[in-house]
């Protein structure tokens, strides 16, 4: 028994989990309060303004274009790399996953540095496709790889043509994977701040940030943020539903043979290579080359090492605070969901996962409102910034906690009780002691991810507090591309670790792994 099925969880644990979930809901709650307090007339006039609808249209169009672009790249690439004998498949797939480690604003900066004339909707769409197609590619490739060829063989033996058999067999698995991936990409685009801002596209995040800056029309910023949250919530729920469905199609057990590979002709091989190298050139080679050129150019001038070091330390400090709060909030919720199946566990978990639907810009805005109006002491403090990170990345920490705790059999804790330990001592000496490495690893992942967060950091940081992301941002804004390069490279290096964890989880394609890893990580880059 891994769960104490049907047993009521202890009251202190329920209380702690409810408190955690409530804390995680503060930004959403205060956003609603802020909008409601504006009164129906002001809300209505904000809603009816042409700009509101232009912004919505821009964001939704950008989302649709990017999702379609990702599907056009990812589905052929996935089929090519899992179902044909294209030489070097494994290496290509690894290379194609690399954009996960490039935050969108870093990619946008790299392209801008090389082509300063780039601007507008299509430029932003190109960059967003280039950084987010792995969210579709990896799950689809995993689904195609784990498809049992026996089903395809049976279909052929029942008289289907090879193509019909492929479709019949792979659609039920690959389609939900592609759909879930598309929804993640949609969420990424909606929440993206860096790329749309650098290319001056008036999507939600940029307009919200601008009206916050202008500070004379904060009601309209709050109304826009609410529309953004509603759209994001729809995507989050749709993604959870679709993902749940895709798991149903997995065969339960037994080792599966590898799928039979289509033999490519020489021409097919060349076409295949041409396709993947083009994608890699756009998604990786251009931005990385641009960064390196900038770095070499910039090094002719004096690189302020102290400043880079200072920014790294600041990023790490604030992010570490966020990680500690995230782990503390995640512990009761993760414990409750791993050990007890009850309305409390599902309720608190869902509440905490609402963080998925809150882009960094929205959390930033809401906490700015809250601290200015209710707790001015906390306005622009490190604590508020760390708290924002904690709420943004709480799902990641909950996932890690739940998996680690679920891996410890409850009988160990029970046995410790019979050996004379009180409940707390029994818990710390068995469950917590054994789950701790996994929980800490989850915290580390939060830390690394929070270090590259941009919009909430811009809005909440104390005056004069600079992180790697904000340093890159301020240099890019004044077109000091050379000076920005070291920060961009440092950010890519930081992003590599969470990106590796994410790609590992997605390409293993294991249901539990997907459940625990993919969901918590889906907003990694979104918040940047």
């Amino acid at each position: 028994m891994t769960r104490n099925s049907g047993i009521r969880p202890p009251r202190p644990l329920i209380a702690a989990a409810v408190v955690s979930a409530c804390l995680a809901l503060i930004p959403l709650f205060y956003l609603i309060v802020r909008v409601a307090s504006a009164g129906p007339e002001k809300i209505l006039s904000s809603l009816l303004r042409a700009r509101t609808w232009e912004t919505t249209l821009t964001s939704v169009s950008l989302m649709v274009v990017v999702v379609v672009g990702c599907l056009i790249i990812a589905i052929p690439a996935a089929a090519l790399l899992t179902r044909t004998n294209l030489p070097g498949r494994r290496l290509w797939l690894t290379a194609l996953a690399l954009p996960l480690a490039i935050p969108s604003y870093v990619a946008a900066y790299a392209w801008l540095a090389q082509f300063p004339a780039m601007s507008g909707f299509w430029a932003a769409a190109l960059i967003l496709i280039a950084v987010s197609y792995p969210y579709v590619l990896l799950p689809v490739a995993a689904a195609l790889r784990t498809t049992d060829p026996a089903i395809e063989e049976v279909a052929r033996s029942l008289g289907r043509s090879p193509f019909a058999a492929f479709q019949n067999n792979n659609s039920p698995q690959a389609m939900p994977a592609a759909a879930a991936g598309s929804l993640l990409v949609g969420l990424y685009v909606l929440s993206d701040f860096g790329a749309v801002s650098l290319f001056r596209v008036d999507a939600f995040t940029r307009v919200i940030f601008a009206s916050y800056r202008a500070s004379f029309d904060r009601t309209s910023a709050a109304v826009l943020a609410s529309i953004l949250v509603i759209l994001a919530l729809i995507l989050v729920f749709a993604e959870r539903k679709v993902r749940g469905k895709s798991l149903q199609y997995r065969s339960a057990s037994g080792t599966q043979r590898m799928a039979v590979l289509t033999q490519l002709t020489t021409r097919g091989r060349l076409l295949g290579w041409g396709f993947v190298t083009t994608v890699i050139a756009i998604a990786i080679v251009v931005p990385v080359a641009s960064l390196l050129i900038r770095l070499v150019e910039g090094s002719r001038r004096q690189l302020d090492v102290m400043e880079l070091f200072q920014a790294t330390v600041s990023s790490a400090g604030a992010a570490a605070g966020g990680a500690v709060i995230a782990v503390a909030l995640a512990l009761p919720i993760g414990l409750l969901t791993a050990r007890y199946r009850s309305k409390w566990s599902t309720g608190t978990e869902s509440a905490a996962f609402a963080g998925h639907a809150l882009p960094g810009v929205v959390i930033g805005l809401s906490l700015v409102f809250l601290t200015i109006n209710a707790i001015p002491v906390l306005y622009q403090t490190l604590f508020t910034l760390a708290f924002a990170y904690a709420v943004l990345f709480l799902p990641k920490s909950i996932g890690a906690t739940r998996t680690s705790v679920a891996a410890v059999p409850p009988i160990l804790e029970h046995t410790a009780r019979t050996l004379g330990r009180n409940p707390f001592s029994a818990w710390t000496n068995t469950t917590l002691r054994l789950a701790w490495p996994g929980i800490a690893a989850g915290g580390l992942l939060v830390l690394l991810t929070a270090m590259k967060e941009l919009p909430a950091t811009l809005m909440l940081r104390p005056t004069g507090f600079d992180t790697l992301a904000t340093e890159l941002w301020s240099r890019t804004e004044i077109a000091a591309y050379g000076a920005a390069a070291p920060y961009a490279l440092a950010l890519i290096a930081l992003a590599a670790v969470p990106a590796f964890a994410l790609s590992l989880a997605m390409s293993k394609g294991q249901p539990e792994q997907m459940e625990d890893q993919q969901a918590p990580t889906q907003l990694d880059t979104v918040s940047t």
């Binding site: 049907g6 009521r8 160990l412 029970h414 046995t415 009780r417 019979t418 050996l419 068995t430 002691r433």
Partner: protein, 350 residues
């Protein structure tokens, strides 16, 4: 020395109760096996005794101390119970001696106690080994030492041998039994394996649907089960339809059988139950014209078990019965035989 008294126990996990008004009495120093199929509630009973689950009704007392009852619930750490979980459940992050010392304080006397119990279970050479380095049987020995180290009043064993292979299971079973008898610890073992229950315990308690249906010494349980379901559960059974013929005998297709125990209330149509080893097969030809005992039948199947074989015979009455013979079967398929009962039968109302 501590006896265990369970009265009117009702417990469950929020849904319909798993244990229903259960009563159980274990004498001080006694070794009782609780035998039940999966879903019978035996594990739930163990959880209630250990204090992992709070019952909805009833009382549990260890000796003079009530540990569970109306308004009373003693937490596991205050019950002085030891538990040997399935597959040991050793703490994976602690070595053998730390596992065993987990329930002891940090005094020097504890060190001696660790050595003492590890020697008892024959694991003193492995004091510094990690649980991962031990075989399944060794892990169980350490789990037993860990449970015994704080000198518990009551020892609970949750299918401790089920994950072991057959040979090891028998050896370890015997050793544990001898050790616990020598220590005189009141012990309750939960199992679904009737052979294990019969061979290890002073008394066997049979559980079904959350209730205790019979508690007897192993031989009494096997020879005179309280009802026909229990008869089927604790071993192979031979069932014959029978009619009561007065006195202490019934008539069946194997002739007249003596009744063991009570005469059933409904004497019209009853079922007589024998064990396969109570039957012998002889040459079917009549001997000297006198009225031959038993009944005639034909062999329709033979199941070979190594140490014995079960010969399945269809009687002329149409009833199918099993006869146990030592070693290999002496008869062959299709052969006609005469089956003669030896010893009394248990009789149940239909």
């Amino acid at each position: 020395m501590t006896n265990v008294q369970v009265k009117g126990l009702t417990a469950g996990y929020g849904g319909p109760p798993i244990l229903k008004d259960l009563n159980l009495s274990v004498d001080s120093g006694e070794f009782v096996a609780v035998l039940g199929s999966s879903g019978s509630g035996k594990t739930t009973l163990l959880r209630v005794l250990a204090g992992f689950l709070i019952p909805t009704k009833g009382t549990v007392a260890f000796g003079d101390h009530q540990v569970s009852g109306p308004g009373v619930w003693v937490p596991p750490e205050k019950r002085r119970v030891g538990i040997v979980p399935q597959e040991g459940a050793l703490f994976p992050h602690l070595d053998v001696q730390k596992n065993v010392g987990f329930g002891l304080d940090k005094s020097p006397a504890s060190k001696d106690r660790i050595t003492e119990v590890l020697t008892m279970v024959g694991m003193n050479d492995f004091a510094e080994a990690r649980p991962q380095e031990l075989s399944g049987g060794q892990q169980q020995r350490v789990a037993l030492a860990r449970a015994l180290a704080p000198r518990p009043d009551v020892l609970l064993l949750d299918e401790p041998f089920s994950a072991l292979d057959a040979g090891l299971r028998t050896t370890l079973r015997t050793e544990v039994r001898e050790l616990l008898t020598a220590l005189g610890t009141t012990s309750i073992l939960v199992t679904h394996d009737q052979e294990e229950a019969l061979s290890i315990a002073d008394k066997v308690a049979v559980m079904r649907n959350g209730q205790l249906v019979q508690m007897s010494e192993p031989s009494a349980l096997y020879q005179d089960p309280t009802d026909i379901e229990t008869a089927r559960f604790v071993g192979d059974s031979v069932e014959l339809s029978a009619t009561y013929t007065g006195g202490d005998s019934v008539h069946t297709s194997l002739g007249s059988l003596r009744i063991r125990g009570d005469i059933p209330a409904n004497t019209e149509a009853v079922t007589a139950v024998l064990r396969p080893e109570q039957l012998v097969m002889v040459d079917p030809r009549p001997v000297g014209g006198s009225l031959a005992p038993g009944g005639l039948g034909k062999v329709h199947g033979i199941t070979y078990h190594g140490h014995d074989s079960l010969v399945h015979v269809t009687l002329t009455s149409g009833e199918s019965i099993a006869v146990r013979v030592p070693g290999e079967s002496t008869v062959s398929l299709g052969e006609n035989v005469r089956v003669i009962p030896t010893g009394p039968a248990s009789v149940y109302a239909n």
